[in-house]
């Protein structure tokens, strides 16, 4: 069982709404839903090999949230020495909810925010499983 907080790494994507969805979902999990059990690590720090950011990944459960098929967050987490326990992709959430068409990068539309909430709910569940709090064990 994890002794450190579960690390959440969103993709930082700046070119498509799917990147913003990962960012929004990461904030929802780390700020609103599971602040006691999670911490957010910026991908930009890992890109440069920041030692503190890399240390945060050591012996921690890591959840990556990607926004496209290039899966930068997952790749960077692994390159930085992290063990990715769960890998999510906002495009998968969209595929399962095609009626929700996300728009906006600086500011998501309502559909994008709803996708982020759905993604966050899945991540919450994963966090609970990784911390042993699933199924009412909290």
């Amino acid at each position: 069982m994890a002794t450190k907080k579960v690390v959440i790494i969103p993709c930082s994507g700046v070119g498509k709404p799917f990147g913003t969805i990962t960012r929004e979902a990461a904030y929802q999990v780390t700020e609103d839903d599971r602040p006691e059990d999670t911490r957010l690590v910026p991908l930009s720090l890992l890109v440069l090999g920041d030692e503190d950011a890399q240390a945060a990944l050591t012996e921690a459960e890591v959840i990556s949230i990607d926004g496209c098929a290039l899966i930068c967050a997952t790749k960077m987490a692994r390159e930085s020495g992290g063990q990715v326990s769960r890998a999510f992709n906002s495009m998968d959430i969209y595929r399962a909810n095609r009626d929700l068409k996300p728009k906006g990068i600086a500011e998501l539309n309502d559909a994008g925010l709803e996708l982020a909430r759905k993604l966050a709910a899945q991540i919450d569940q994963a966090v609970d499983e990784l911390t042993g709090k699933a199924d009412g064990n909290a």
């Binding site: 700046v14 960012r23 440069l48 290039l70």
Partner: protein, 246 residues
Amino acid sequence: MPELKQKKVGIVSCSGEELPEGTVSRLAALKVLEELRPGETVTICLPLFLAGGEGDRAFAKFYPTIAIDGCDKRCAYRATEKYSNTPAAGIVITDLIKEHGLPVPTGCRRLDQNGLALAELAAALAAEQVDALLGKQWSSRQGQFLQSEDRPQQSQEPIQATCSCGSGIPVQKLMLDGQEVTFIALPLIFQQFAENQKAPSAQVLDELMNTVKLYNSLFPELEKSARAEIANAYQIYWNAERCQNG
């Protein structure tokens, strides 16, 4: 460095999720890309320098870049420099706060008014840098670049952030002494040379090789082979172009 495509400026932001200043950098970059200079700028996600391919890492070799960072770690500037090329300019949000005596922003997820004002300021500064790099003059009244008489009017491009994800810079692979070598930008270089009516010749090949070396590091032992293969590939390209254009 030759201009291979319509010249644009690359905007790279740190997007750091941990600090409000990271969100400011992200919003400032998006404001330049989507509103202030949509036709003149392009972006790349910072992690793509590592996670992407050769084309992605060549980003800053093709575009003069402006890095917008949230803090003095300057991840965007340093990563661009480390993995691609030295940015032409850099803006650091925490420096802007000090220089202009502005209040510190709050709210990583939803910026407060201070953060939004900072994003406006950073975006305006970045837009000025774009103009300087492109040698163009922006008309605030007309909301477009002032056109010189001899400069053709450019068509308006869709107003959205131009992302290089998955597109990158075109590459071409050639077999050199039994090993496959990827040449960044080779298709664009061929295109440029052909458009300039540079028919294959020994002199043109010298020029071609000099251009290829701007974007590609060649091992000395492969240079002879590379020269022969590139000459061959350009001849094929040239012939195909001539056939296509009659």
